[in-house]
């Protein structure tokens, strides 16, 4: 988010050359680095400029695809490296050059997007009948076609190749733009004391920008700038600003900076008329640990009967205390009256008191409190190394999902000993997130960390005889990850739904309350909710829960005829139930996707008796079709309710439930990583929560989990 902000901030500077060059400083490396960046980053790769089919080949063999994919990634990486290298230069002209680069990027994007649209169009025209034929055969025979007409497949492959090249061009430009933005932030740090002039210019332009989105972006960019001047600027904005999006961003930035003067403002904003501002304030409150925090949130909870704010308040209270207190408005307030004073010892300024508290929690019988959750709640705000160590030591003797998540967060801890302890502690968790995060860390790990990573992965894999990487070397580990990623996900995916997914299992007490208001077991708390459901043909296959025998949570009950239910039938049942359960007045929407997404009615619609009937009838009548277009479905979901969409009568959703059973097969972008990247961009400043339901054995575990967790939601495998 900070990066996005800096982007707009810097974009505003284009055309104001020299803004940052008030104080001169020369770097002899600057011209070389600049030239290198221009060469690598500002010329779209040859193949991408005019996407062409490869010539002279009888067919596009697998290794051609593979080689080209690797080459594309290498091109992009080279460009990003050149940008980063320039950002590291202390020369006073760098900032300006990076900002100018954003303009070039915009032009690159403008020239890359139309060919992509055209390529997709051509491909779809060719491919749609092909998919229809497959569909027809599937319906006729109940099985997937086993033969492919070569000439047809060849033609489609050629068009797909062209589309991939065009998509690469767009992706290249977007990633270079992100790198430029990150570079701008980094360069502000590199400039150090000479930042002042640049900062002043930024404030002037950032606060006076006409577009509220630019002003919001400025706030988020200011979040990372050290020094009291940024605090002051942000507080001023908070006092004057009227636009809710800008306010939300400003509150987020102030909270992230833990600016003490901002706390009363956040308290006041808990009752802001705008939902987005309230959500930002609720989330921001978790950064401040004072005697007033919990009572203020508890009081606000009593005033929030339903919806996203309520869910976020409960989440914030859990993040602060590690406690789950009955879902009753007064319960938190009465708990605080009883125990508040005792609880505050955990946030005492004296580390010795905190240490005692940590020990006390650690020694409490696990049947009385959720020890891992309460300890985990203390870690984010703890600054004393000794207390941190004690928290970790007490945590690792428990094995729970909360501990796994905490250990994963500790991989980013500034203290190396904490990072290493976390790496080692993770060897007890056979969860897909572990290898993934460890490999992310491996990119910047030193020798000692690499050794710990190697050993942890080896332990997870059942020892030296099983794990093929024989030495703790970065290259070897990365190579292993590069080739084994999918299999690793699959391996862990097979362990069983509940072990891999991050979704909350409803407690018996919840079950009656949320009996009808849950979707695949996930509570539907929001009152602006959008269901995005895969209706590709593979949903016609029998529903089977992922997981090896004995670890899966059990397949769904068979249908009336005794046959196992199909995935689509399960999805329909889930939709029908939730549609019946949603209270009147809830704004909800339905997007079904296969070859392309289809939106029901007018985007978000207000629930009433008539609407309920119509929506259920629509679900009853839905028909599966071949192909899975994840990208376009999510794009559509994010467009609903915005000004770009005709479907904006009832505004945008604040929560999305996304269901899919397979990998993307059509759409502008097919690679799951790229799709996630796009979602991250769309969700900047919007904070839509995305819950993901991965259905069946074949869903992409990594994609689903990351999509959910990057967007504040839960992932469940069903």
């Amino acid at each position: 988010v900070r990066a996005a902000a800096a982007l707009l901030l810097a974009a505003a500077w284009i055309g104001v050359p020299g803004a940052a060059a008030a104080q001169d400083a020369k770097d002899p490396e600057f011209p070389r680095r600049l030239a290198a960046m221009k060469k690598a980053a500002f010329s779209l790769p040859e193949a991408a400029k005019e996407p062409m089919a490869p010539k002279g080949e009888r067919f596009l063999s697998a290794h051609q695809w593979k080689d080209r994919e690797a080459a594309r990634e290498a091109e992009t990486q080279a460009a990003l490296a050149a940008v980063r290298a320039l950002a590291e230069s202390p020369d006073s002209r760098v900032f300006e050059e990076l900002a100018r680069g954003l303009g070039v990027c915009r032009r690159m994007l403008a020239s890359a997007e139309p060919p992509l649209a055209e390529a997709v169009d051509r491909l779809d025209k060719k491919r749609e009948p092909w998919f229809e034929k497959r569909e027809e055969e599937f319906r006729r025979t109940g099985s997937w076609p086993s033969t492919v007409l070569v000439a047809e497949k060849q033609a489609i492959d050629t068009l797909l190749w062209i589309q991939q090249e065009a998509a690469h061009a767009v992706d290249f430009a977007l990633r270079v733009r992100d790198a430029l933005v990150e570079g701008l932030s980094r360069n502000l740090e590199v400039l150090g004391d000479r930042r002042e002039a640049a900062w002043k210019a930024a404030v002037k332009l950032g606060t006076a920008a006409a577009d509220p989105f630019d002003r919001a972006a400025f706030c988020l960019a200011a979040q990372g700038i050290p020094g009291p001047e940024a605090d002051r600027t942000l507080l001023e904005i908070e006092a004057k600003e009227k636009d809710p999006a800008v306010l939300g961003a400003c509150i987020e930035a102030l909270a992230a900076r833990r600016c003490a003067a901002a706390f009363p403002r956040l308290l006041a904003r808990l009752d802001d008329p705008d939902l987005g501002v309230v959500i930002a304030a609720v989330r921001g409150m978790t950064r401040f640990r004072s005697a007033e925090t919990v009572p203020a949130l508890a009081a606000r909870l009593a005033r929030a009967p339903e919806g996203r704010v309520r869910a976020d308040l409960l989440e914030a209270l859990f993040a602060l205390t590690g406690k789950v207190i009955a879902d009753d408005p007064g319960a938190w307030e009465s708990w605080w009256r009883r125990e508040g004073e005792k609880f505050l010892r955990r946030w005492d300024p004296d580390p010795a008191v905190r240490l005692d508290e940590v020990e006390a929690i650690g020694l409490t019988d696990e049947r009385l409190i959720n020890v891992p959750a309460e300890l985990s709640a203390l870690l984010p705000a703890e600054t004393d190394p000794k207390v941190r160590e004690a928290i970790l030591e007490n945590l690792t003797i428990h094995r729970s999902d909360a501990v796994r998540l905490t250990l994963l967060r500790c991989l980013y801890d500034p203290s190396k000993s904490t990072r290493i302890a976390a790496i080692r502690g993770l060897s007890a968790y056979r969860h897909v997130s572990v290898p993934e995060e460890l490999m992310r860390l491996a990119l910047r790990a030193d020798a000692e960390e690499l050794q710990a990573i190697h050993q942890t992965l080896r332990t997870l894999w059942g020892g030296a005889g099983q794990f093929g990487v024989d030495a703790p070397e970065r290259d070897k580990l990365l190579r292993w990850w590069d080739t084994s990623r999918d299999r690793v996900a699959e391996h862990f995916g097979r362990l069983g739904a509940s072990e891999v997914a991050s979704g909350r299992q409803p407690s018996p007490a919840d079950e009656s309350r949320w009996k009808d208001r849950n979707f695949y077991g996930l509570r539907v708390e929001s009152d602006r909710v959008l269901f995005v459901v895969d209706v590709s043909l593979s949903m016609e296959e029998p529903a089977k829960r992922p997981g090896r025998k004995g670890t899966a949570t059990g397949d769904p009950e068979p249908g009336e005829d005794g046959k196992p239910l199909r995935k689509i039938e399960v999805a329909k049942n889930e939709l029908r139930r939730v549609l019946r359960g949603l209270p009147e007045g809830t704004r909800f929407g339905l997007v079904l996707f296969s070859f392309r997404p289809e939106v029901w009615d007018q985007g978000l619609v207000k629930m009433d008796g008539e609407v309920r009937k119509k929506a259920i009838a629509w679900v009853d009548a839905l028909r599966t079709r071949e192909a899975t277009n994840v990208y376009d479905a999510l794009e559509e979901a994010f467009r609903i309710g915005t000004e770009k969409s005709p479907l904006r009568a009832a505004g945008p959703p604040d929560t999305i439930y996304f269901v899919s059973d397979g990998a993307p097969t059509v759409g502008k972008f097919l690679q799951p990583d790229l799709i996630r990247e796009h979602v991250r961009r769309w969700n900047r400043g919007r904070n839509l929560k995305i819950h993901v339901v991965g259905v069946g054995d074949d869903h992409d575990v990594l994609f689903c989990r990351n999509l959910a967790e990057e967007n504040g939601g839960y992932y469940v495998a069903r």
């Binding site: 009888r58 067919f59 063999s61 697998a62 290794h63 695809w65 593979k66 690797a70 025979t141 109940g142 099985s143 997937w144 076609p145 086993s146 033969t147 492919v148 007409l149 070569v150 020990e359 650690g362 020694l363 019988d365 696990e366 049947r367 004690a390 030591e393 007490n394 690792t396 003797i397 290493i420 302890a421 080692r424 502690g425 060897s427 007890a428 050794q451 710990a452 050993q455 080896r458 332990t459 894999w461 059942g462 020892g463 030296a464 005889g465 099983q466 794990f467 093929g468 292993w480 080739t483 084994s484 999918d486 299999r487 699959e490 391996h491 296959e541 025998k549 397979g662 054995d697 074949d698």
Partner: protein, 776 residues
């Protein structure tokens, strides 16, 4: 029989390829599919190490020892420091005689020659520079070899080898690529002759691309991209699309024979396809033949097709036992992509099993009675004499079910399939398994799944009899027998027999050692680390066994023990460098504690705890280290965690926690808690005694102080001990106070009264500080 993972949806979409799936249950064995490194294989061959020879074995290992080759003898003696291994001469590929080149002159003769600038090298006296140059050259050559191998291991730098009919692209070692390519060519010749297949000019001219991967993960990635499917259980596949045929598989780790099986299997698909690309031969024939020819023996000159496919046979036998044999109609229709109305059935494990058994019977059963009939049935496809139906939208044709059924009956000269199926079943039940390993697998299945201990016993006996000269089989049986109560006593003997046959397998020796009492284990582990100095688990266990056997009181090594412990510490350090597991670190910590290296012990114990925080043993070692270092607060913290772990364990015993693996102790909660308290008191006492054994009185006192800060001793003995330790540390006043407090709880305790007297007597004349310590 375990059920194979069902075909995924994606795998089904990829069914345009002829994919070879693992037999049922085979997936588990290969789940860890990455290549296991051959121990020592990357060691340069020619570098002298302490005057030892370097010996290269036929399995790729390179070991250091002194090799003794006696003239005329069939065995080579390999001398290690404490034992001598006798191995058949054919297992030793090469011996580099550097034993005589020792850069350090050690004998008078060597010193005399050294003075003249000569060293003994390769059995001759040569100038030292020349010897060293040779060594350098060796090293450089080894490095070149490694670098080149690493270069070609990347797919983008793969080898491309063209033979008469194939274009093999592979990232294996060059000799392996040539081997596979040559084998593929031989198979091609054999198969085309066996089935009297005549290829058209176009098919003869066209060279089939063969992609052969070094690693399974590379293969999988390629496959998924190539076909859009998923490859969980896939060993290889062949794509029969006209003009785009390709054969793709990977080098199975450590098993060239299995790779060859896969290659022959897919090669059969290829040749059947090439014989008439425009005819789609039914799936059961394709797979049955491919499995039949996949299990071909080749001695370099002749092919022997039709060996038993154990996995398929076991599966089919299981199908018979469960009454799940497929009707012929189902098999004939199954996986046939070309049938129109009926709806094809996917070709699953049971179809493979039955197709193979059927083809095997038709080719081999009843002395080949049906062989010619079956071949002519196949020919009806290839020479298009059978009635073929055109496939909509394609130039390819296929034989529909009715025609196929009629032709098969006619060619075989039978009226219906019922009798044939019965014959096949009888044949399958009588057919012996090929490998001893399969007998072990069937025995386990009979024992555990079918509850048939008699049948299992027969299978186990057969396996041991059949595999009596196969060290790997014996070791595998020994490991598995540990699971079978009736046979578990045989494990040690079987491991020993395996080691007699292959004394150089450190892994097997390590597994044996784990079954032996510590003293015997130590001897075995000593050998294991001589044979393979990089075998991490053996190194770690060696250190642990030394701790168990080499330190009489486990507290402080006596003078005569120190040397052995120091050596074990060095070995433990090597173990944690190679395989930094919790166990290895724990062993290191325990050893360090016995020789007074407390800081090193603490550091190692901390790592052990980080890797496995839930082990009370690891926590205990850490607590001891803290106590000995005088870090009393940390000590108490760790001890409290141990208490928590013990309580948790006790609760599991009660069944209150519902945790898995908890054993019911039958204790009621109060008794369980009491037991934990007692255990903790004992633990604390032992740690304090350990401090005292190291004359760390003030540390002992501080540790007890920290522990009893938040609780009181639970017995008169504990009070007495506490008071005495505190008095020993020179704090008589406090010792007296402790004794007084103790007496309040236990007014009649004589030892406490004694302690009180002693403390009162010592007051004012504080005990002298221990030597080298200053009183706190």
């Amino acid at each position: 029989m375990r059920v194979r993972t069902p075909l995924s949806r994606a795998a089904a979409t990829a069914a345009l390829a002829f994919a070879l799936l693992l037999p049922a249950g085979g997936g588990e064995a290969r789940a860890g599919d990455d290549r296991r490194p051959v121990p020592g294989a990357d060691r340069p061959l020619g570098v002298p190490a302490g005057g030892l020879d370097r010996v290269r074995l036929s399995d790729g290992r390179v070991i250091s020892c002194r090799a003794e080759e006696r003239r005329g003898a069939k065995e080579v003696l390999l001398h290690f420091p404490t034992f001598t291994a006798t191995v058949p001469r054919e297992r030793v590929l090469e011996v580099r005689r550097f034993a005589d080149y020792d850069p350090e002159p050690r004998t008078d003769e060597e010193r005399a020659q050294a003075a003249k600038g000569f060293v003994r090298f390769g059995g001759r006296w040569v100038p030292k520079e020349a010897a060293e140059k040779s060594v350098r050259d060796e090293e450089a050559a080894a490095k070149r070899f490694r670098d080149e191998d690493e270069f070609h291991a990347k797919w983008e730098n793969r080898w491309k080898v063209e033979t008469d009919h194939f274009l093999v692209e592979a990232n294996l070692r060059r000799d392996a690529v040539d081997h596979y390519a040559a084998l593929l060519e031989s198979f091609y010749d054999f198969f085309t002759k066996a089935f009297q297949i005549r290829l058209t000019a176009r098919e003869r001219k066209q060279k089939l691309p063969v992609f052969l991967f070094r690693r399974r993960d590379e293969f999988r990635q390629f496959h998924d991209r190539d076909t859009g499917g998923k490859s969980e259980n896939l060993l290889g596949y062949f794509v029969p699309a006209i003009g785009q045929e390709r054969l793709v598989f990977y080098d199975l780790p450590g098993s060239r024979e299995e790779t060859v099986d896969v290659m022959f299997h897919e090669g059969t698909h290829f040749i059947l396809h090439l014989a008439e690309p425009k005819v789609l031969v039914s799936r059961w024939i394709h797979e049955g033949c491919a499995e039949y020819f996949g299990a071909s023996g080749f001695d370099g000159k002749r092919f022997t097709p039709g060996l038993v496919q154990d996995g398929r046979l076991l599966h089919f036998q299981d199908m018979i036992a469960r009454g799940k044999v497929l009707p012929m109609e189902v098999l004939l229709r199954a996986g046939n992509p070309y049938s129109e109305a009926e709806g094809p059935v996917e070709f699953e494990g049971e179809h493979y099993a039955q197709a193979w058994t059927l083809v095997h019977y038709l080719m081999e059963g009843r002395k080949g009675r049906y062989r010619q009939g079956f071949i002519s049935f196949l020919q009806k496809h290839l020479d298009r004499k059978g009635k073929l139906t055109a496939l909509a939208g394609s130039e390819q044709k296929f034989m529909d079910y009715d025609e196929s059924r009629a032709q098969l009956l006619r060619c075989l000269g039978i009226k219906d399939f019922d009798g044939l199926l019965k014959e096949v079943e009888e044949y399958a039940l009588a057919l012996p398994l090929r490998s001893a390993r399969a007998y072990v697998e069937r025995g386990l299945e009979r024992y555990f799944d079918r509850r048939d201990p008699e049948g299992a016993r027969a299978d186990f006996d057969t396996a041991i009899e059949k595999g009596r000269d196969d060290p790997a089989l014996l070791a595998m049986a020994a490991s598995n027998f540990q699971l079978v109560p009736e046979r578990s006593s045989e494990s040690v003997a079987l491991f020993r027999r395996s080691l007699e046959l292959d004394p150089l397998d450190a892994g097997v020796r390590h597994r044996l050692a784990r079954l032996l009492p510590p003293a015997e284990a130590l001897a075995e582990l000593e050998i294991a680390i001589q044979v393979d100095p990089d075998h991490g688990p053996s190194l770690g266990d060696f250190a642990w066994a030394t701790y168990l056997t080499g330190v009489r009181d486990r507290t402080r090594a006596a003078d005569d023990e120190v040397e052995a412990v120091r050596r074990a510490i060095a070995i433990a350090r090597r173990a944690v460098a190679i395989d930094p597991s919790a166990e290895a670190h724990h062993a290191l910590a325990c050893l360090c504690l016995t020789v007074g290296e407390f800081e090193a012990a603490r550091d190692a114990a901390k790592v052990a705890v980080e890797f496995d925080a839930e082990s009370a043993y690891h926590q205990w070692t850490l607590a001891e280290s803290y106590a000995l270092l005088g870090q009393a607060d940390e000590f108490a913290r760790v001890l409290r965690r141990i208490e928590l772990l013990l309580r948790r364990e006790a609760r599991r015993g009660e069944g209150g926690e519902g945790g898995e693996g908890g054993t019911a102790t039958g204790l009621d909660p109060a008794a369980a808690l009491e037991a934990v308290n007692e255990e903790m008191a004992g633990l604390v006492r032992r740690i304090a005694e350990r401090c005292l054994a190291w004359e760390k009185r003030s540390e002992a006192s501080a540790a007890l102080d920290a522990w009893y800060e938040r609780r009181l001793p639970k017995s008169a003995d504990d009070w007495t001990f506490f008071s005495e330790v505190v008095r020993g540390a020179g704090n008589a006043k406090r010792a007296r106070k402790i004794a007084e407090d103790g007496l309040k709880a236990f007014p009649d305790s004589a030892p406490l009264k004694e302690a009180l007297r002693a403390a009162a007597g010592g007051e004012g004349e504080d005990a002298p500080p221990a030597p080298g310590e200053s009183p706190k």
